[in-house]
């Protein structure tokens, strides 16, 4: 009997290796594939397209018995487990529009054969046929915007680098993915590494770069191993383009593009002042494309299927799809790729099933540690760069972290300040000192000391951090802090002594 089981880090963290070993011991052939992204069901076992999960070692015999006779699915109204339902028909999968994650759950990550037979390398072939200029134009026409957070049009950046002159040019893939509540880059690298490599090769062709770096955070050993192996396996296919992997060293700020470039160069990960833009003077002083994993991974599809097909998805100026990450206290967490425009409430309630704890949702932090906390009252916000910006928030890298009614928003605000203090690169005083001060002030406020005066202090501090920080670490930390105060004022008053 052939059994498919993911070797993605989420599956491993939930015990997939032991389950795989038990299937092998029971005489099954086990094929390790990428993850479907239904994290609450991991380890998720697939037999002839039908899913069983979460599966523990003790369940192996029962799963084999059910799989052998293809017994009819046993429905689970709440959807908390899966027993015999065809995975691809599951509403969580069927409702998605998977372009970047089209292979998720379906292929073996390091199989060149699986990659080729599912449309791999078609985008690169197309780009080679079209040539650099038409490739840049196609990416511009697709409307693809940077998925790392800032949402800058990818094709426009590529054009700048293509037109810049320099001794060498570089493609740098930002795989630092430090935001809490995000894991799409990790899944893309672990599950479909050749797609990212193909995207980088297309970028290299488009701008005239023959060298690429992938900068992966050190907290992702499995992604590092998969990417290293995939780079080796596909070297001939992307030549003369060459890719080298670099490992981060535990600094959140190195996700900021200029800090990242310093880090590759072997320097402290301090943020550089802009201008010059990295597109003109980036890595080792040369014109450099810095793009997020998801940005680059979207490109092969765009080239193969055409920019219009991609731009047909989405709303407003947010074109295409976004791999949204449902995280935190959510019942059905995982990766949900869909066209821009879906509402926050649909994501959290309809798709995510509310909280995992079963308690009422109170707050959702969108866009990582620099993103705002949104109350249920904002659940009609559409997932769109501009809509979130207008609501004093950001979609960032597309992570949603759900909190139930036990959350203390003053403590979350304090955490945001503490995080900023811990991760500041130290270059600007408001970020370095202001955040430490902010955490102290919030401690006082939480202790009930001078609540009004301390609230006023936090307001002022946030204003200064916002207007005088060089990068978004200091500049956006006010988002989680101020949104907590604005939307949850009841947590910022003198408390009953507990």
């Amino acid at each position: 009997m052939k059994v498919r089981l993911s070797d993605d880090a989420v599956a491993l963290a939930c015990g997939a290796d032991a389950v795989a070993a038990a299937f092998i011991a029971a005489g099954c052939e086990v094929e390790r594939v990428s993850s479907w992204g239904m994290h609450w069901l991991e380890p998720l076992v697939e037999i002839d397209g039908r899913g069983y999960g979460p599966v523990a070692v003790e369940d192996v015999a029962r799963v084999m018995a059910a799989g052998a006779v293809a017994s009819p699915p046993s429905p689970d109204e709440a959807g908390d487990r899966l027993w015999g339902t065809p995975i691809a028909d599951h509403p969580f999968i069927a409702r998605q529009q998977r372009l970047t994650f089209a292979r998720a759950g379906r292929t073996r990550p390091l199989s060149l054969e699986d990659y080729r037979t599912t449309g791999g390398w078609q985008g690169l072939a197309k780009a080679r046929a079209l040539g650099p200029e038409a490739t840049v134009e196609a990416v511009i026409a697709s409307g693809l915007r940077g998925r790392g957070g800032a949402g800058f049009p990818a094709g426009v950046k590529w054009r700048t680098v293509a037109q810049a002159s320099g001794a060498r040019k570089y493609i740098v893939c930002n795989a630092d993915e430090g935001d809490s509540g995000t894991f799409a880059d990790r899944m893309a690298m672990e599950g479909d590494p050749f797609q990212l490599i193909e995207g980088m090769a297309i970028a290299g062709l488009a701008v005239g770069a023959d060298k690429g770096y992938v900068y992966v955070r050190s907290e992702y050993p499995h992604a590092i191993a998969k990417m290293r192996a995939a780079i080796r396996l596909s070297a001939d296919l992307v030549a003369p383009f060459v890719i080298e992997l670099r490992v981060g060293a535990g600094a959140y700020v190195c996700g900021e593009e200029t800090s990242l470039l310093n880090s590759i160069e072997g320097k402290r990960g301090e943020v550089r002042a802009k201008p010059p833009l990295p597109a003109l003077k980036g890595l080792f002083g040369c014109p450099t494309v810095v793009n997020n994993v998801l940005t680059l991974a979207a490109v092969p599809w765009i080239m193969a299927q055409g920019p219009d097909a991609y731009a047909a998805y989405g709303m407003g100026r947010s074109r295409g799809t976004m791999p949204i990450q449902l995280a935190g206290n959510i019942r059905h967490g995982g990766l949900f790729e869909t066209a821009f425009g879906i509402s926050l409430g649909e994501l959290v309630n309809d798709i995510g099933g509310g909280t995992a704890s079963g308690r009422p949702v109170r707050a959702v932090q969108v866009g990582g540690p620099l993103g705002a906390y949104h109350p249920v009252g904002q659940f009609d916000l559409p997932f769109d760069y501009e809509a979130f910006a207008a609501a004093d928030g950001l979609i960032g890298h597309g992570g949603l972290v759900v909190f139930d009614d036990r959350v203390d928003m003053a403590r979350q605000a304090r955490f945001a300040m503490q995080f900023c203090a811990a991760e500041s690169c130290g270059k600007c005083t408001p970020c370095r000192i202001g955040s430490t001060r902010g955490a102290e002030v919030l401690d006082q406020l939480i202790a009930g000391v001078d609540v009004d005066a301390n609230l006023a202090l936090i307001h002022d501090l946030c204003d200064v951090m916002k207007s005088t920080s060089l990068c978004a670490l200091g500049g956006f930390t006010p988002y989680p802090v101020m949104s907590a105060i604005t939307h949850f004022p009841e947590d910022f008053v003198v408390r009953e002594p507990s």
Binding site: A9, A13, P109, R268, G333
Partner: protein, 149 residues
């Protein structure tokens, strides 16, 4: 089975000079060198900083500045095994605080903070070496710490 996860840098018999030499051909070799030194020797101490500075033609202050900037590099060796416990928002929302008393009581193991392991829908999460653990309860976390010693 899938691929085995090969340890990043696992050639234990190398000297610092071997490590430096093996990276001299690449652009910006300092971080890869520091990673390898840290992995092999468990720290990047002052003497090593001097050797690396010499090998790369940098000042000691420059190398020291880089070493001290990144959380992954340690100035002194700690013989205890390290468990990295995620203390970021998504794990907080899933009850990570309940693991704190277990972390405090840990002995023979160093519990380090990490902000996100990319396991945010199956937290609380932690990592021992390259081994990832999700859905931690206080009891399962205590087991993990015990097994790590």
């Amino acid at each position: 089975m899938g691929i085995s996860i090969d340890s990043f840098y696992s050639q234990p018999m190398k000297t610092i000079d071997d490590i430096i030499k093996s990276h001299l051909g690449s652009d910006g070799p300092l971080l890869p060198i520091l990673h390898e030194v840290q992995a092999v020797f468990g720290c990047v101490d002052e003497e090593t900083v001097r050797q690396i500075a010499h090998g790369l033609n940098l000042s000691r202050a420059e190398v020291h500045g880089v070493v001290s900037f990144y959380h992954d590099f340690k100035a002194t060796r700690d013989p205890r095994p390290v468990v990295k416990l995620c203390r970021a928002e998504a794990c907080q929302s899933r009850g990570q605080a309940a693991l704190e008393s277990v972390a405090e009581a840990a002995s023979g193991v160093k519990v380090e903070t990490v902000y996100c392991l990319g396991l945010c829908a199956v937290g609380p999460a932690a990592m021992l070496g390259e081994e990832v653990h999700g859905r931690l309860t206080p009891a399962r976390f205590a087991e993990l710490l015990e097994a790590a010693r």
